[in-house]
Symmetry: D2
Subunit: 488 residues, 4 copies
Amino acid sequence: MSELRHFCGIAGIYSKQETNLPYNLFFPLFALQHRGQEAAGIAYRKEGQTVVYKDLGMVSTVLSRYLDQPKRSRVGIGHVRYSTKGGNRLENVQPIHVTCNKGEIALAHNGNISNVDIIKKELFDEGSIFQTSSDSELILHLISRSRRESFRDALIETLERIEGAFSLVMIHDESLVVVRDPSGFRPLYIGEADGKVVAASETCALDILGISTYREVEPGEIIFVSEKGLHSEKLKTKRPLRQCVFELIYFARPDSSVFGVNVHTDRKRMGAALAEEDKGSSAVTGAGAGAMGPHPVGDIVVPVPDSGTSAALGYAEQAGLPFDFGLTRNHYAGRSFILPTTGERELAVRMKLHPVRDVIRNKRIILVDDSLVRGTTARNLVKLLKDAGAAEVHLRLCSPEIRWPCFFGIDIPTRQELISNHHDPSSIAELIGADSVRFLPVHRLRETREAPDRFCYACFTGDYPLTVPLPESERTGYPRDTAQQELI
Amino acid sequence: MSELRHFCGIAGIYSKQETNLPYNLFFPLFALQHRGQEAAGIAYRKEGQTVVYKDLGMVSTVLSRYLDQPKRSRVGIGHVRYSTKGGNRLENVQPIHVTCNKGEIALAHNGNISNVDIIKKELFDEGSIFQTSSDSELILHLISRSRRESFRDALIETLERIEGAFSLVMIHDESLVVVRDPSGFRPLYIGEADGKVVAASETCALDILGISTYREVEPGEIIFVSEKGLHSEKLKTKRPLRQCVFELIYFARPDSSVFGVNVHTDRKRMGAALAEEDKGSSAVTGAGAGAMGPHPVGDIVVPVPDSGTSAALGYAEQAGLPFDFGLTRNHYAGRSFILPTTGERELAVRMKLHPVRDVIRNKRIILVDDSLVRGTTARNLVKLLKDAGAAEVHLRLCSPEIRWPCFFGIDIPTRQELISNHHDPSSIAELIGADSVRFLPVHRLRETREAPDRFCYACFTGDYPLTVPLPESERTGYPRDTAQQELI
Amino acid sequence: MSELRHFCGIAGIYSKQETNLPYNLFFPLFALQHRGQEAAGIAYRKEGQTVVYKDLGMVSTVLSRYLDQPKRSRVGIGHVRYSTKGGNRLENVQPIHVTCNKGEIALAHNGNISNVDIIKKELFDEGSIFQTSSDSELILHLISRSRRESFRDALIETLERIEGAFSLVMIHDESLVVVRDPSGFRPLYIGEADGKVVAASETCALDILGISTYREVEPGEIIFVSEKGLHSEKLKTKRPLRQCVFELIYFARPDSSVFGVNVHTDRKRMGAALAEEDKGSSAVTGAGAGAMGPHPVGDIVVPVPDSGTSAALGYAEQAGLPFDFGLTRNHYAGRSFILPTTGERELAVRMKLHPVRDVIRNKRIILVDDSLVRGTTARNLVKLLKDAGAAEVHLRLCSPEIRWPCFFGIDIPTRQELISNHHDPSSIAELIGADSVRFLPVHRLRETREAPDRFCYACFTGDYPLTVPLPESERTGYPRDTAQQELI
Amino acid sequence: MSELRHFCGIAGIYSKQETNLPYNLFFPLFALQHRGQEAAGIAYRKEGQTVVYKDLGMVSTVLSRYLDQPKRSRVGIGHVRYSTKGGNRLENVQPIHVTCNKGEIALAHNGNISNVDIIKKELFDEGSIFQTSSDSELILHLISRSRRESFRDALIETLERIEGAFSLVMIHDESLVVVRDPSGFRPLYIGEADGKVVAASETCALDILGISTYREVEPGEIIFVSEKGLHSEKLKTKRPLRQCVFELIYFARPDSSVFGVNVHTDRKRMGAALAEEDKGSSAVTGAGAGAMGPHPVGDIVVPVPDSGTSAALGYAEQAGLPFDFGLTRNHYAGRSFILPTTGERELAVRMKLHPVRDVIRNKRIILVDDSLVRGTTARNLVKLLKDAGAAEVHLRLCSPEIRWPCFFGIDIPTRQELISNHHDPSSIAELIGADSVRFLPVHRLRETREAPDRFCYACFTGDYPLTVPLPESERTGYPRDTAQQELI
């Protein structure tokens, strides 16, 4: 139930034999649907031309109509995305396709360029025109304007100029190009089977094609796949590895591997860490904190499905408490159904989540979820459980308090909107009606990592690994920022 | 992942105040979507006329376009359904609406009339014309042809003539009529809140409207709701209570109450019974049966999501084994996406279910699901798990072997198609590549019931509670029928 | 621009060879689109079953999705229709398909049964249920309830009981049945080519299939087409021939033959008769009547496209006046476009019709159209022409004044709404801003017929050829009815 | 029935009061639908942002969904278009919207830039990227890259660099900009009413909004409309006026004024000139040429509706022959219906045009149409008429023989495909089965003009008013080119 949104998922295929590329791209994009549900698109080469199909809507809606006819092609890329502030503008749906002095290029991008403002100004000054409001278009402008003659040289020059998060798949003429930024913010995997090289944001997109041999695209790696085979290079830019820890906390699918670990297992580890926090704590915040008994907090561990399920299982195992489904999720509650009027927020929650009264009644519930953004959904959930007879509700979050915006691909609200910039856990508990609220502290989250320094925690700490264009107004004014972190 | 299909879910509303009936019906029908995903419809009264909207498609697709305008109405009914042998014929979508000498009647029906052949022949002879291929239309013919003058008398005469399963909601002129057959095959609940009386197949449909005070419609009960209030009668037909045990095994939502028990809790009880069977068994069938260790069969309990989840949790708790999500389900894999060609069955399964390798690898898996029909999905699932590294896969089903067709509302394939009519568990294990297969025996299933005689087990035993039109060809020829049941 | 609406057009095909019936039905129904634009449907036999596809919408929208696959069938029927008072109810879309003791029957009906009330009451009393609000369903009830054993005998009994207008195509089991009522109110043609027998409302529907050998189905004729060939019978009911003269005035396509004459030529004849009226008249009503000059009324003849085009040509030739296109019609202005709000009626007219100023300016316009119903469109048209510079506008209608409802298949508004029940031509001219208005008198219209008694003029005269259920309130109160006809 | 295609129609609105711009743009675009039926789009300013809606499809389909909500805006533009060789690519649908150093610009373009190759090469070299395959994008690149600081200066610099046909409407920030190229190839009108300034390709688009005071945008004129009012300038580039004569022959709507004349009247004049040709000719080409009688060629003048209607009327009046509708057009035969397979070309023609046998039978038909491109449709039409009983068919075309491609906005096939590059009229007559074929000679066409030198006749003569990128292969090899022109 996280209110965070991701920007996108990408996939690219190079096939030695001519094949129906739209059909082959459909499945990995379908498997990446969770990374972006508002628009989908593909580009592929056919008879020396680049064909692009893209529209607002889910993968099955947008792409299924293009699958039936045999399309003989060797290379194609695809994209799923959430809309961002720019809104549901069709012009921002990817892949972007251009013709320029380096040839025909189609691009699909996962991430965000953090030095966008400087580059955009320069391009503006030089007379470039922008047809989208996405920063992905910058990449194509830079490639085209590069004085280097070859596409490869121009691409490398471009990648060395841009900063931030960029997992990319591109078609250049008849070849596939796969790129991951030097910090490795976003995941990107590449595998091969049956004469097809496939790159995708998560391993689940390779699994669906039956590809079980794959590896991570390395940070700073550029891979060219063409008739001549696969050729890999490394960017010269050296940057510390800063993988987005939120991919593991929330975004990626539990059955995927991301940054070398299985997501489900990693979440169980976070849940276990949270359980240890609760056990060890002599001073749990909130009303129910003083409760005595076999477990200091609860009788039963209940996940918020599906975002909190893995972590809840880890919590329960570690705490020795029963795990049970106190909430069921209605999976028909997708994006297409009518939204109840604003006065009926409770109804909206009831359309998605129902309490199982038998499980809930008279129990002290440890409710596990991934993160807390604004707190509105949590308040409705707590009410749902209490109405269903819960004795106490203790909300446990597998992530630290979110206080800072992200410039590397996550759509986090402004600092003003983030509840943790205004309230400490006990105050949040009061606001949402819970008996207690606890976050996984940053140091604990780090302890669950094998190599903690390889991750980015900037949305919790404000400690950005690269220079970011944080507006002045967002920098100050939240005195909790430095102080409260230790309190927990 | 059961391959069984249900016929439908129903809902009816009577509101003391005029209200937007389509809007009010939308939510309970949405909550009943799992009972029928292929068609949806509503009928309601407006300015002295009955308006009907119905179409093939999901609730959100079919109904959302009719919600926006205020429609001042007091009474309406709705229906969701699976298509049956008759196919996706629009003419069979309910509610059915007719005008006759008893007034205007709209009807939505959950169940099946078992003496349909006798009645249909009689109506044919008398010159009735049939515009649908559903047995629900019979009810309206009988009401209209009754010599009794009032609608009430004609309805009662009709209900005393028909046999089988019939939970009904009807509009007659400006009143709502709610009926449940004397055997109580299908669930039906009625509740009231905010001046609205609401009837629906499951309690989850009342919950979504915030109605927490409700009761079961009693078997053989007829409830008339009108301006004059609520009036209840009982049919004189006396029949033993025979509630469909499959509602609890598979059809109903885990958060619903059905036949007086919470579905999730009941399934956990079935899972626990299955675990006891495994513990007590000295001769587990199949290859992995002889395995030694702390548990005679497995290391870990994995549900087939979502159908086996509750039972798997009950199994794990009873067995003292870890419960984990070795399979994740892609909830985008609804009905709208393109089907891979028949040669790509494995791909179809991969689009829905993915193994979590970290959980599966080198483990002896106890895979829990609700039931086994043809066995094709199970074979693909076992392969998926073994390919992901499972050491052994032991399939456990929370229902006995299905061997007989249902005449009371479930769409079971012919006896010929049911795997358990041709193979015993060890032979099935071999067929699907599992290390063992075990069903919950009928006597065990009965033991999990408080009042075991109040349920129908005919699909397992062939012991039908009413005379049924079982074709001669289906009666004999499966020698396993009587013998094998004890073997397990 | 007539505001009258027709009920429908029908087509039926029997093919000696198995063929794609939906594809073959598409073209004649497409050619009959002008007879009903709000719904379309087909029924055909396939592998011993009757398949029905029908929906609200135009032929191309509703049917084109069903054409691509080869469907091996021999017999099928189709229907296009306008919605009537019953509204856009899907349940009223034809063909109607039923199963009964006479077998499977599908029916498409053009016309109206005039003794519907008596028959419906009887069927109600006997317990029939009605699932549509159309009178076509009656026919099927009567066939099914007939004590005669064979379908043929039951059909004939039924056709002898019903009165009114009924051109029918039916599928009975594997045969096609074609029927035209004894009064011959509605046209119906039958032809044969390439091993296919095709029946359709107008000859244009046969032309499109390349069938140039055809004949009218005779009034009172029943044709059975099956494997055994074509068999024709005549009903015993004797009734005078009463062909609907409005088919020729407005409904049928100009390139069709209807009732044995070409529609375009017939309309030219009406226009010529109107021109003679104008020439001979010494006292033309309205302001411009006294105008002197080579022609007593106008300088130029302008049709309201397309309804008045043929008649205008006939008028111009007879009057020796130039014919020109002073109004152009925007053929994109179909049914799909957004309707301007009610306050913008003029805009609605401008979307359909534009004046050609060069033609109009300073001219005395003789504006020719088919008929006048409420007068609202005419008022807007006259304004359009005057705004474009017309010196005078003289409206000429090729039909007499419409004052009575039709019970034989045309959807005429109530008597209250018909402008000619409240105003004589000079008063109408004043109301709509025209300089004069003239109708073709009934006696003149009759003179344009070869056999004038073979037509029905009831909507002009109130002299119905059969007993009709005219409500008491509609019978009296319009004193102009008898008197004014001569005035003109 | 011309097989020529136009590129587009445009409209722009500036409103002094805030208004619903999409609603206001809908009507003029709807009136311009005939100029482009394959895609439609609008752009308008709203709260400081440019909103763009565009898609493949007709105006009513694409735009009607955006009209309902009040959108407070002052300026907007719109576009309708045919697809061109580039295919149905969504990316080519206009308006194009970009952000650049001159601000936000949206552009809709009617015409073709003839020095596109030179400019595109230059832009490529400088690193511009192209997201569309249309030449309209060039304009925006040039504006952005201009060193002149203000948008106005950059625009003027750009317009002085590009050559060819360009009627433009643009939004720049909150102002509307209207441009017509110095040769005036394409029409463009501007008018004002009710506080709204409206520019559009034809006057019919102003008429529909009730605007009757308008003027042509002058060749080389630039009009800026903003809060400050209307400001007009003239480009310094001097070029001879070369209005496209085909706008009058075929493209524009008969009720429009274009290049200062009413289209319908102009076509009648062309038809009259053609009649004079026939009268004066002592040696009509083709088989029927020697026929005797009151008129050297025919008995009756029949238009190919609707393209030949106006000219046929002019021909008939001049020749003193009867004009009649020997062919009716089915206006439901739009773009949405299923296309018969290629083997059924005759069926395709029959779906659009039907002969009226009564009119045709035994007559010598003078069939009048606008132009002849490939000749395939004409052949089918002649066959249709002869099958319907025509004694002779003499095809008369209101345009000279088309032999050269257009570089100023008309999509003419290659020279190879143009029938008049391979056959003279008598040879064409033989090919299409007509008794004779006659074109309006260029000198006669010129004689129908008041100022013949103000028009472009390049598609007939190859005498282009500007340098054009005619491929070498198209320049030679058609020896008829110089010789045959005089023969006629």
